[in-house]
Amino acid sequence: MSQEFRLNNEGLINRKKEIIFSFNGKKYTGYEGDTLASALLANGVHLVSRSFKYHRPRGFFGAGVDEPNAKLQVTMNGYSEPNVNATEIELVKGLSANSQNCWPSVNFDVGAINNFLNRFFPAGFYYKTFMWPKSFWYKIYEPFIRKAAGLGVASVEKDNERYEHKYEYCDLLVAGSGPAGLSSAFAAAKNGAKVILAEDKPRFGGTLLTDDVTIDNLSGKDWADKIISELKEMPNVVVKNRSQVFGYYDHNMTVMFERIGDHLEQKSKFTPRQRLWYIRAKEVLLSTGSIERPIVFGNNDTPGIFLSAAAKEYIKVYGVLVGKKPVIFTNNDSAYETALEFKKNGINPIVLDTREEQNSQLVQDVKNQNITIKFSHAIIVANGYKKVNSVLVGKLNKNKTDYEKTEIIECDCVCVSGFWTPTVHLASQSGNKLSYNDKIDAFVPDKSKQSEKSIGAANGTFTLKETIENGFKIGSEASSRITKKNNPITIPKSNELNHNPHDKFWCSPLPKGKNYKRFVDFQNDVAVSDIEIALKEGYRSIEHVKRYTTLGMATDQGRTSNLNGLQLVANIEKKIVPQVGHTTFRPPFTPITIGAIVGREIGKEFMPTRKTPMHDWHEKNNAVFVDAGAWKRPRYYKQGNETLSEASRREAKNVRDYVGICDVTTLGKIDIKGPDAAELLNRVYTNAWLKLPVGKARYGVMLREDGIVMDDGTTTRISENHFHMTTTTLQAANVLSHLEYYLQVVWPELNVNVLSTTEQWAGLSLAGPKSRDVLAKLFPNLNVSNEALPFMGYVEGSLFGVEARIFRISFSGELAFEINVKSDHGIFMWEKTMEIGKEFNIQPYGTEALSTLRIEMGHVAGPELDGRTIPYDLSLEGLISNNKDFIGKRSLGREAFKSDSRQKIVGLIPVDKKSSIPEGSHLVENKDAKLPNPKIGYVSSSCWSVENNNPFSLGILKNGKNMIGKKLFALSPLKNTVIEVEVISSHYVDHEGKRVRS
């Protein structure tokens, strides 16, 4: 093992468990508890990626969500995933990682030519060029730009890992387990509140893991461990690590993302990879901490340059030195803690502080350790291409606008601190308008819009004492409002070193004549000069700056760059930061796996599947199914090698000649009861319903208020105040809501109840000249003659002991009956009918044959009821009552609806009697007219007429009623067909409707 940067006596990793992993094809070792980043750093690997635009060499910069650079292509558990944050992903056996966006390797990347030409690629350069000659954009420029797009590579493999969702309610959600989170969660838990404590990282404790503090005479980490173990013991508390609250939505809904599987070496197939928690909390406490921001200087993106807190975290948590010859560059005290940690491990750092001589406790401590400190100093530029090897340092003049003298300091790493930015994302998402706190030069939450409160560093509180006090106080108050308990708590005593104020220094000035690249946003290569150009060109709103330069738009969403960008804009515009404002914080806080957002509704479970009680029978009998909304319906029953068209013709012909049986369970069924039931129907349907006799069915059409046909179906009067309505399969749910709306909102005076019974009744349709014979045998005790059960008649009977409803209604145009029994008996009804029908040549038929039968008859269905047709268009004007009002009637008087040339349904046959007319063809008078060729209609439904043995179609044709007998062309340019058609009546079979009445 090499791990030459691993310390022996530091860190929280498990040294007993060594893990072998690979990076860019080379094997390395790390320990359980490492991140990929810490393990690579332990091995001295810094150069891991290339930047997006200039392909500059990049190393690690942070130690967690703050990382802008180290996004790697990682393969684990057999899946390759792009853009994995190396500072967050935990090391696991077999993990292999590769650099992205570089070719041929991260070490030698051809794309880096962009860096040497970078003066030609300033912000927004692509808006100004690539325009001539025009065709080059399509053929050369854009394909080239596209090729350069993206970071990692998306794997096209199907993701078979499991993602789960959980819905949770609690009194208090605490986001973040640093000192503020632990204190408040603990106080709230003691008051009996139901608490969820969420920690993004694998380890609880936040800054307590790295800061040299004591609480109740315990080290920060020991205190955190103690509190966590107590919380875990409490039944009212859920404690979750690897769980990030990433979104704050309306009505105090927060969403948490839990990582469960990736760090496990072995897991069962039921172990989810990740879980999404929708959490509705009465109160949300945001203890999300703060993120250190960098100071901007020349070549500040060189590998080996870190945030100072990250360097400290690598030492304290992972036992890794980010370098052995560190320079620490700071404008505040906190970086001194990093200096001390280096020193403890035998490393002598040099501290550069932009402030004049300081004497806080912390600085004094560092001085006492004989660490070199250079006050009023700044790094001007870092040297070294793939790794920092020295820095040019300058002594700042009084105004800090230039340097009095400069020197070169050799180093192998730089730890930079430009002070702390509260993590206000969730507060902002909740609607909290942030305010600017110029004591800390950052935005902090202002007035809460929802039940949320920020505490600790997230609220701009940077001392431990205050954080813990506030944590306990707010946790206690928030919980006692809910639980009404107020258990006394003693706030623990904490001990920390005092800090002096920070320096408002955020960017090293350029020495005269120098033009170093000073990066504000690393991943997107946005430098100070880019922002200057944007402002110079008038892109002055912060949103314009962001969009023009792409500042803050990379995968790290500007976590380390936002405030420095605002500072820069404020400086140039001679404003202060709050006047510049900030861009919107939008969820998610960090990128979230799409699979986790989706959960389990994948593959066949994308939508529910509804099956009729006879489904298994259909399956056994070679049914080929078709989706009708969520329902599965038999489309045809395949015999031998039949094609769809052969089978459907056979089935339809059998209905016309003998008898067929069709599963119509999927039709919507609504039970309507009450003294005003007939009145409701009379208002809902366009025709008259009050006088429908008991035991009779009637066909009806209902409109939307805008006059457009909404649905059709038959409704039967079971008894005086009881009706059974049927709807089309697809509109069933809408019709029920429609009826409920009118009954509850518009006409509450009507005394009617409606209830969906779609799933309570199994239905079959028995159609064909022999259907009565079958019916008679099914119901031997019932008189089913034409006199006793005429067309549109209804009777109830017993089907071998099973209660049944028999409707004499027809969609096929044949003598037909519909039988309904309770769903449980559906299969019995079906099998019995097949058995009895055998001698009459009964055959099942599917939706395709059904479609053929209805088209021949000129019955309208889905393709004609397309949300744009009125009753007249469908030749249903006969169903419009002139003697009463109904829903949508008033709209039928509109000019367009009464126009003489209004479209109307017609029948169409090919003049050659052979060519099938593709559905979706358009009707024109002149097939050769120049485009745009005026269309006068279209073909809505087509079939092969089994009755007449030639193709037949329904069409919707302008001025249709006067076009009968005319010859037109049906054009389908998509299918390259030109068919001459004759316009005929839409009723192609049994024009007088004799059969249904036979």
Partner: protein
């Protein structure tokens, strides 16, 4: 005005880019303008540009409450197409397609119009027939359209789910090869820069507080930066139309709804054109930066919050993974929302109003971006000539009383389900 080109870029590189001009100025409002356009979004900026260019009306102000390009032009999914069934929509948007094709050169600003095609997937024969009806209509209107079967779709987007483990298999799809995407911000900035150069005043951070209407005529507009006299006002504020209409005592066939979109992290090119799922509301394309840009349903209730809730995103992405299982392993980087002017038939309104000098441009639902050039062009014509152009004659306000509606989807007045 400085001309943008590779030469100007090189020249400026040697002066460290210190000599670029302002893309647009920041003028103080004058007392009076010939035309005031309210709304500095895509439609308003394009309208001002075409007023100046086509009608030589340059004494024009664009009044924008915030920053230009900050509304829906800056938050849409950048899809450009003319794959409409109805003649009015087809003619209008195909006219726009031609403006798109020349836009970068005309504006001397690369808007990165990228015609890599759009495919609407079908998941049943009935849907294939619906698309055939639309595609045939397009072809007869002179617009390119191709109907693909399952195998042909598979060649085009092999990473879609063609396995047996799907709820709604892909049957085929309707393609418009000439459709595409563009860089949305650049469209706003390009129009702004040219309009500005021809004398249009772009006035940002200026909120309309009221209107000066007397005897049925427009006399001016009141703003947070003072009163401005004008005889003609063009209202281009999709997303806020109802709010300004109220100040004019008008009620419109429009509702405001929030629509969310999201992007994944950038990945290497994997998807060339735009794809829409047919068994759920989901559409996707990949930007030139590599991000997968995705959208779908409205959040489903009236809203002016430019943000939505996660269940809608979940619902949309569920459609996404059903279509492209590989999305499961990508990460969602950012979500955002925009306010849609949902009209009652799904088509826009570009028309005169009962108030003399007040012109209305609204109701873009979620298709406003593609129509920016054709809308600006026709609206400029309508304002300049005080009569609608043939191209926008179908987009009348009166269709909501005479019944000549243009309902591509056939969903009627429940705007929140469309």
């Amino acid at each position: 005005m400085q001309k943008y080109s590779i030469f100007s870029l090189i020249k400026n590189a040697f002066s460290n880019h210190q000599n670029w001009d302002l893309a647009w100025k920041d003028p103080t409002p004058k007392k009076e303008y010939d035309v005031v356009i309210i709304g500095g979004g895509g439609h308003g900026l394009a309208t001002a540009y075409y007023l100046a260019k086509e009608h030589k009306i340059t004494n024009v102000a664009i009044i924008e409450k915030g920053w230009i390009g900050g509304g829906n032009i800056g938050r849409n999914t950048t899809i450009i197409r003319s794959n409409f069934m109805f003649d009015e929509n087809a003619a209008f948007n195909e006219f726009g397609m031609n403006l798109w094709r020349n836009m970068s050169q005309e504006l001397n600003f690369n808007v990165m119009f990228s015609p890599r095609g759009i495919i609407n997937l079908a998941h049943s024969d009935a849907q294939m027939n619906t698309y055939a009806r639309r595609g045939n209509s397009m072809r007869l209107n002179g617009i390119d359209a191709v109907l693909l079967n399952r195998e042909e779709v598979k060649k085009m987007i092999p990473m879609a789910d063609f396995s047996d483990d799907v709820r709604y298999p892909i049957f085929g799809g309707l393609v418009q090869p000439s459709a595409g995407t563009a860089r949305h911000d650049a469209v706003a900035w390009g129009y702004a820069r040219q309009a500005d150069s021809m004398g249009v005043d772009i006035i940002q951070n200026c909120e309309v507080t009221g209107f000066d209407v007397s005897a049925g005529k427009i006399n001016g507009v009141r703003t947070s930066r003072g009163d401005i006299k004008t005889k003609k006002i063009g209202l281009c504020v999709a997303g806020s139309t109802n709010i300004l209409a109220e100040k004019l005592n008008m009620t419109l066939p429009i509702e405001a709804h929030v629509l969310q979109a999201c992007v994944s992290e950038p990945v290497k090119p994997i998807l060339d054109g735009v794809v829409t799922f047919g068994a759920g509301h989901f559409y996707i394309s990949q930007s030139d930066k590599g991000e997968m840009v995705m959208g779908g349903d409205l959040d489903g209730y009236n809203s002016y919050a430019q943000k939505g809730n996660l269940p809608t995103i979940q619902h949309v992405l569920t459609g996404g993974v059903a279509l492209f299982p590989f999305l499961s392993r990508l990460k969602m980087l950012r979500t955002w929302g925009g306010i849609m002017d949902m009209s009652m038939d799904g088509s826009p309104i570009i028309d005169k109003t009962h108030i003399d000098g007040l012109y209305l441009n609204c109701g873009w639902c979620y298709g406003g971006f593609k129509s920016v050039p054709s809308s600006g062009w026709t609206f400029a014509h309508t304002i300049a000539q005080n009569r609608v152009h043939e191209l926008n004659s179908g987009y009348s306000l009166s269709r909501f009383s005479n019944g000549y509606l243009i309902d591509e989807k056939g969903l009627g007045t429940k705007t929140w389900i469309s």
